[in-house]
Symmetry: C2
Subunit: 427 residues, 2 copies
């Protein structure tokens, strides 16, 4: 297929007419398709239904150490759950606190605590004139919403194929003690599906921040969410790397079982150094008597161990792989030669990210909407919802059926082509 | 029996010798008894084991409105749970947000949010020079720990048989705009077991606080925790009363199923006015995608409705009533005539509170410890752990077996008598 960039105006107009015809046909079908949400499908949720069976009235709800999970106590999580999530997050169970149902909630609480109480004895951020966070973009909108909520200034850091632009990160954190953190989704990143390179992780571990209370917020949301069994991305484990670099306190790692068992009804965890955990527990003991140990036990009994999680994730992959591959194949076939956008081919995670020509994203999303396809709003993957180039579109292929997804992707492609041609004709 | 106050020195010394003999006998038994913790017993927890059976892989985990509880969404709780907890907290389901497993966590989050973001548009408390809370004493130590954690100054308010001293409360809140809240456990209060009188609640609803962001923190932890079926305390419902008084925004109500199903694995809720809920949800949407809906559904399917909760609480009462009555009977028999302390006879809740002669509480707790009986530390029911009169001792009769509780109470009585006599001999 010919690149749009090489077409004459006449050829573009001809192409445009045909696309508009196609677009109208889709419109007339009155479709309601949804590629906006990073949610598992019902078929995926069915994989975990036996989670509801492992505990029943005939089963002892006690831990190996005798703790009755039904009663108060154990603020930092039962040992079995620490072992399970420790294996998942590749950390020693001693470096873990098990929380409630949401790692986002842990991140919120972590920022909130830093605002009111500082970090390991530092000045509470609410007492400072300015607090800044680095935000690799495009990124996860809910991260940015937390920092915005607390009035933290956000600085965009471009994502490269290897992860955040580390030259920029190193320079900024070394010279500005108002920079207190950086949001990272280091594996199968939201939304691009990029995994940080070994070099990127090592440079993270060796950062020399001007602020002693600077922390790397390492949200390993998709750590075990591979699409393939052998052909997986590898992410260097950052906590060990930070220890080797002499910076054990510089990172918080977050994870949860949200997209493993049931979103909202899983368990979440933070992993960090002993110093950080001590700091966190001071507050945690005030905040709660303890999280839901019965649900922790339920997850341990269901998955048993990290092998159980791995086997379970293969079942998710079997459902997700055809969806990702279909979307990627259609993009490849319809858009690869057109030279009006780019994307990565992720090996895991929950998203595909289409980077359109500058100034086209909003238009594409609006067009898709009018043809019955909901997409994540353009701009959402950026701080303050502002995509400076108006080019990034997040595609969420997990929730719709394969059939709906195919139609939605074809409509999306038509919208991309139309918006791109109009842009080219304007120029 | 003769009052200690009417005894001669010789009689007191004689009594003391006999008590010391009795005390030594207990010591020699090497007991390990625990009256320190407000925890349900294993027998009580067994009452809820069928909670583990109502959901299983053969059951549809969808709400009446079709919401799949297994997936993301519904930040403020499923409708069925709002109805159930609404009936429990005596509020319209529309005035409720269902949270996670802990009402303490809601209270912490409420204070934390007020620190960083203020209340319905008020200045964030962290920007103010002074923030104060009124603390009816004795009260719940974990309330005071939260306010202490945030550097909020705490002012003791004496508890009367009718609830907090409302003359003092009215005067203070009307004249000091640094006073932002008051902690209340209005029914079967922790630790005294007092239920606020109708007049007290009506005066609460009619407060004229100098601070617009003053809120009543109404922790109705024991709202359905009656010991008797007919002979129950009645608490005027404060939210309706606040509405009638033209102050609908002045109260937050908190509740949970912690001591109804499984502590730590239940559901909790806040009830408040539409204005307050809007304020709360602004932050809640940033903090989480949603709480554990599967567990909400589990509780709804288990209890069905408020009648189900009522019947369930009767089973708890059947276990708790003999424990409370035994402790109270021993106190009555051994101490009522001695004139060295006082207590209420609660009709519900989790505690009995012994008020000893001034300067005796620490000594009594220490003596009990040395005879193998753990009590809540003296001072714990006061801000900063400081009981100005050193007289209040919280007794938690729920966790031990009836047999252990009897021994523990008898030891406690011996310790009370010994400490009291020594005090009298000093004078």
């Amino acid at each position: 297929m010919k690149s749009f960039l090489e077409m004459t105006e006449e050829e573009l107009l001809q192409e445009k007419n045909e696309l508009e015809e196609e677009y109208r046909k889709y419109q007339m079908r009155g479709l309601q398709l949804d590629m906006s949400r990073g949610k598992p499908s019902a078929e995926q949720l069915d994989l975990s239904m036996e989670l509801m069976d492992v505990l029943h009235s005939g089963v002892d709800l006690a831990c190996d150490d005798g703790t009755d999970c039904r009663n108060y106590g154990v603020v930092d999580g039962i040992q079995e759950a620490k072992v399970l999530l420790g294996d998942m997050i590749e950390c020693n169970p001693d470096n873990i606190i098990i929380y409630g149902n949401s790692s986002l909630n842990i991140m919120y609480d972590t920022i909130s605590r830093s605002m009111t109480h500082g970090v390991m004895g530092s000045t509470p951020w609410c007492k400072l004139d300015r607090v800044k966070f680095l935000c690799p973009v495009p990124g996860y909108d809910r991260h940015f919403t937390i920092t915005e909520h607390f009035g933290i200034e956000m600085i965009n850091i471009p994502m490269l194929p290897t992860g955040p632009d580390m030259d920029l990160v190193e320079d900024l954190v070394a010279n500005d003690d108002a920079i207190k953190g950086i949001w990272c989704v280091p594996k199968y990143s939201n939304p691009q599906g990029i995994t940080y390179s070994d070099e990127t992780v090592r440079r993270f571990a060796r950062l020399k921040p001007a602020a002693k209370d600077f922390r790397i917020y390492w949200d390993n949301a998709y750590g075990v969410h591979h699409l393939y069994d052998i052909d997986q991305d590898n992410l260097v484990e950052i906590f060990a790397e930070c220890k080797r670099a002499g910076n054990p306190d510089m990172v918080y790692k977050f994870c949860s079982t949200s997209k493993i068992s049931f979103p909202g009804s899983g368990v979440s965890a933070i992993a960090a150094s002993a110093n950080n955990l001590e700091d966190i527990k001071k507050q945690l003991c005030v905040q709660t008597i303890g999280y839901d140990k019965v649900n922790q036990l339920r997850h341990v009994r269901f998955f048993k161990d990290i092998h159980g999680i791995t086997e379970h994730m293969k079942k998710h992959a079997a459902i997700l792989r055809p969806k990702f591959e279909m979307v990627l194949d259609i993009l490849q076939q319809e858009l690869a030669d057109r030279d009006v956008g780019s994307w990565y081919r992720p090996k895991g995670g929950y998203f595909i990210c289409y980077e359109a020509m500058e100034g086209c994203a909003k238009e594409i999303v609006a067009r898709a909407k009018k043809a019955g396809v909901s997409m994540t709003p353009a701009g959402a993957p950026f701080p303050y919802g502002h995509d400076p180039k108006d080019s990034v579109i997040r595609i969420a292929p997990t929730y719709p059926s394969l059939e709906d997804l195919e139609t939605a992707t074809k409509i999306f492609v038509v919208c991309v082509k139309l918006a791109s041609i109009e842009k080219l004709l304007e120029e």
